[in-house]
């Protein structure tokens, strides 16, 4: 039921209000749209394999990226005193040395896949601010579970910890 209960004469011209409303709504949407655009373009990070990162070479030094690869067995070097750890990840062809300022979960040495989020340095090493590792599940050998250094436990905040 659509009943117009206001007599025409007491209302201001409809068109004037409609234009104002639409303009206002459009403005708000434009601001939100711009925020989203700006937010994405200024904070998005590439997610590459070791090989892809290698191919990008020096051009991405200093840029925040995520790089994923397989943990190279035996490459883990842990320095508890300085809360540092270094290891290498590779995609079979290329190997990338990663250093991380923090301590990783105990099961890290059994990790298969690793994602490091951070920056590539001029010397070709990678400094990670966050490390995610996929480790085999104890019960089901075919299952893998993600661990994150942000929390030292079997949960995975794959979309970043920066507060």
């Amino acid at each position: 039921m659509s009943v117009n209960t206001f007599p025409q004469s007491t209302r201001k011209p409809r068109a004037k209000y409609q234009i104002k409303f639409l303009l206002g709504a459009f403005l708000i949407l434009a601001v939100i749209g711009y925020l989203i655009f700006f937010g994405i373009s200024s904070t998005q990070q590439y997610y590459w394999s070791v090989g892809e990162l290698f191919n990008k070479g020096q051009s991405v030094v200093g840029q925040g990226v995520r790089v994923g690869g397989n943990l190279v067995q035996g490459s883990i070097n842990e320095d508890v005193k300085n809360s540092k750890i270094s290891f290498s990840i590779s995609d079979g062809a290329h190997s990338l040395p990663v250093s991380y300022n923090g301590v990783v979960p105990d099961t890290f040495d059994k990790a298969t896949q690793v994602i490091a989020e951070g920056k590539l340095n001029q010397d070709g090493t990678f400094t990670a601010s966050l490390v995610l590792a996929k480790c085999p599940s104890k019960y089901d050998a075919s299952k893998l579970e993600w661990y994150s250094t942000a929390n030292n436990a079997n949960i995975n905040y794959a979309i970043g910890q920066q507060k």
């Binding site: 039921m1 659509s2 009943v3 117009n4 209960t5 206001f6 209302r11 201001k12 409809r14 209000y17 104002k20 409303f21 206002g24 709504a25 708000i28 949407l29 939100i32 925020l35 989203i36 700006f38 937010g39 994405i40 200024s42 904070t43 998005q44 990070q45 590439y46 997610y47 590459w48 995520r66 508890v80 005193k81 809360s83 300022n101 923090g102 301590v103 979960p105 105990d106 099961t107 995610l132 599940s137 104890k138 019960y139 089901d140 299952k143 993600w146 942000a150 929390n151 030292n152 436990a153 079997n154 949960i155 995975n156 905040y157 794959a158 979309i159 970043g160 910890q161 920066q162 507060k163």
Partner: protein
């Protein structure tokens, strides 16, 4: 027992299909026996699902490890209550079963309560509800069955992930489910209204409470999840913009928009298309959230369950959205507003802006969540966004919402002039400046947190002032004492004044969020016994550590750390690390010191790691200002929402008055009414 359960599961599929058809055909073909039968079908379906759930619980409790669900999520030494019971929803098929079961119970409640007042709408509601249940029944029977057998029955199960053995984790999933699933009901009513052509405002009045309750549960679920993350996960925070956290937040935001927008429809019979649209979007986001959690499409905390369920869900979501929107389009003519908005500066228009902002926030989050997929489709490269994106975009939109919340109590329905508004703002602005200066003096020096505190102060000023002056006005008229006048005021207009209380509690929470996000510190230090480090004014001395302490299923390593402030010892913290040999998994146990007064801040300490013989132990200390305001605000939110939800006689009477016109024209009497 499991055979009984599997039979019940198969029958439930048949009942779901029958009931949906009976409801639809019964009301279209004017066959009251069919609609009555459909009503019984809803109850029968709930009964069958209960049988299925009970049989799975029985298998869990009797440690029947031949079932995959039991073997993968419980073990002989897992306490029956609550963790063996809660294992029901740890499993993918179990969680879909839980979803469907809760929905069936909601269905019974709706059918029993609403049949007499919404007779014309109910058969359509049942048809839509059972259509959705048919999807779940198909999934449970053919894609992911709770009765899946193990190839070889193991002697003992895998046990429950120790991270999940925490009281908050026992309640958090049911809360979230009650919330998620509950949004299905208003969706069913909206579609029923569209299908039946009965688009007067009755469906809105009916569903308002049925939306607020799941909205409350979802909000509680979100808070509990955050609390668990803080207490258990050991990273010092409580919200990480994780895809699954976002999946629960998005429908909550749209639900909030809906709850506000329906007030405009109740008052002015406007924004009808918005309201139908909002509930469709909310339900779509609920399904999407369930899909996100159940298919490992985007890595997340909860996605230990990757499977083919994903493809089915996506198809179902597409089907639901496309058909709902198409239906909405065909009924656009019946959804015209009855009143025009006369003034740009009026409560109605501000509510509309509110809709746009909340929807915008939900869409911004959605884009962020699926950005890896979108960017790959568009450019071939996978890109991800993280907390900085969400903090920027959602934070800015929330600032806009705070401004709105601050201004709305001063603007009435039908409009206000800018001059009048300006005059009313003087007092609140003085208060705002005062609070901002206070915050500055107390240590908040950065512009953005200060802006946040200023906006919060504005909201508190205008909202509390409205509550106060309205109570005083009432006291003048009725000569009641303050608290009596206040509670009477509340019950006369729960939407408005209960809403104000909810706003105030959210402000308490917001203070906590700003303080803890903007000013928390994080310091890691490796110490030998006897050494100390300082952080944020505290001096932490590593005093002792011992390992190999048996602790239930695990082995505990516990350190003793003395906390000093200004030379005085104020606390002893014992952070720990428990190692679970069965899952080969360590779990951090944070030690938290709540520093008074007024919940000033938390000192949050964890053990990062240690060298072989404990000669060096690495500690990480977070200092989180105002964080307990978050939990306290959440608690106030719970109370104020319950107060707002409380039924009162006047409203039920109003509902009957509304319902009676419905019975004119074609109607039928369900048996026994």
């Amino acid at each position: 027992m499991t055979t009984l359960g599997s039979i019940a599961l198969v029958i439930s599929l048949i009942v779901a299909v029958y009931t949906a058809l009976a409801g639809l055909l019964g009301v279209r073909g004017r066959a009251p026996e069919l609609t009555a039968s459909a009503r019984n079908g809803v109850v029968a379906f709930a009964g069958l699902m209960t049988v299925v759930v009970l049989s799975v619980l029985y298998a869990l409790v009797t440690r029947d490890f031949s079932l995959s669900l039991v073997a993968n999520h419980s073990s002989r030494d897992l306490p029956i209550f609550p963790y063996t019971i809660t294992a029901l929803w740890s499993d993918q098929s179990g969680s879909l079963l839980f979803w469907s079961w809760i929905l069936s119970l909601y269905g019974v409640a709706v059918v029993l309560k609403k049949w007499s007042t919404n007779g014309d709408l109910m058969p359509y509601v049942i048809a839509v509800l059972m259509g959705i249940q048919t999807f779940f029944a198909l999934m449970l029977n053919y894609v992911t069955s709770p009765f899946l057998k193990m190839e070889i029955t193991p002697a003992d199960g895998a046990g429950l992930n120790p991270l999940l053995q925490h009281p908050a984790m026992a309640i958090h999933p049911p809360m979230l489910y009650l919330g998620y699933v509950g949004f299905t009901i208003p969706f069913c009513f909206a579609i029923a209204a569209l299908l039946s052509g009965r688009l007067n405002d009755a469906w809105i009045r009916t569903t308002r409470r049925w939306t607020m309750l799941p909205w409350l549960f979802l909000g509680m679920g979100l808070l509990l999840g955050g609390r668990w993350a803080y207490d258990v996960l050991g990273w010092g925070g409580y919200w990480g913009w994780d895809p699954v956290e976002n999946a629960a937040l998005m429908p909550w935001l749209v639900g909030t928009a809906f709850l506000h927008s329906v007030m405009v429809q109740e008052r002015k019979s406007a924004l009808k298309v918005w309201n139908v649209g909002l509930i469709i979007i909310a339900f779509g986001l609920v399904l999407f959230g369930t899909f996100l959690t159940r298919s490992g499409v985007i890595q997340s905390v909860h996605a230990f369950t990757e499977s083919d369920v994903g493809a089915w869900f996506l198809s179902f979501i597409a089907l639901v959205l496309i058909s709902s929107v198409a239906l909405l389009f065909t009924r656009l003519d019946k959804l015209e507003s009855e009143h025009e908005f006369d003034s740009l500066l009026s409560r109605e228009v501000l509510f509309l802006v509110n809709n746009i902002l909340f929807l915008g926030a939900a869409m911004a989050i959605l884009i962020g969540v699926i950005w890896p997929i979108l960017s790959e489709l568009v450019s071939g490269e996978t890109l991800t966004v993280a907390a900085p994106y969400y903090n920027l975009v959602v934070g800015s939109i929330f600032a806009g919402l705070l401004l709105l919340m601050g201004v709305i109590p001063l603007v009435g329905w039908g409009g206000a002039t800018l001059a009048k508004l300006g005059r009313k703002l003087v007092g609140p602005l003085v208060f705002t400046v005062f609070i901002t200066l206070l915050a500055f003096l107390l240590g908040a020096r950065d512009p953005i947190p200060l802006l946040g505190y200023a906006l919060i102060a504005l909201v508190v000023a205008t909202t509390a002032a409205d509550l106060y002056w309205s109570t005083r006005a009432r006291m003048k008229n009725t000569h009641e004492r303050f608290f009596l006048a206040f509670s009477r005021l509340l019950s006369r207009n729960r939407r408005r004044y209960g809403g104000y209380l909810i706003h105030l509690s959210v402000m308490v929470l917001a203070v906590g969020v700003i303080g803890s996000r903007a000013y928390s510190t994080d310091q890691t230090s490796a110490l030998a016994k006897g050494q100390s480090f300082t952080t944020a004014g505290y001096t932490l001395t590593f005093e002792d550590i011992s390992g190999n302490i048996p602790d239930g299923e695990g082995i505990l390593t516990s350190a003793t750390v003395g906390v000093y402030e200004g030379g005085k010892r104020i606390a002893t913290l014992q952070p720990g690390n428990v190692y679970y040999p069965r899952q080969q998994q360590p779990e951090t146990e944070p030690a938290i010191y709540h520093d008074p007064p007024l919940f000033r801040r938390d000192l949050y300490l964890i053990i990062n790691g240690w060298s072989g013989n404990f000669d060096t132990v690495s500690f990480r200390a977070y200092v989180n200002p105002m964080i307990n305001w978050v939990w306290f605000g959440g608690f106030l939110f719970l109370i104020s929402t319950v107060v707002t939800l409380w039924p009162d006689a006047k409203e039920s009477a109003a509902q009957v008055r509304v319902a009676i016109p419905e019975k004119k024209g074609f109607s039928y009497s369900p048996p026994g009414e």
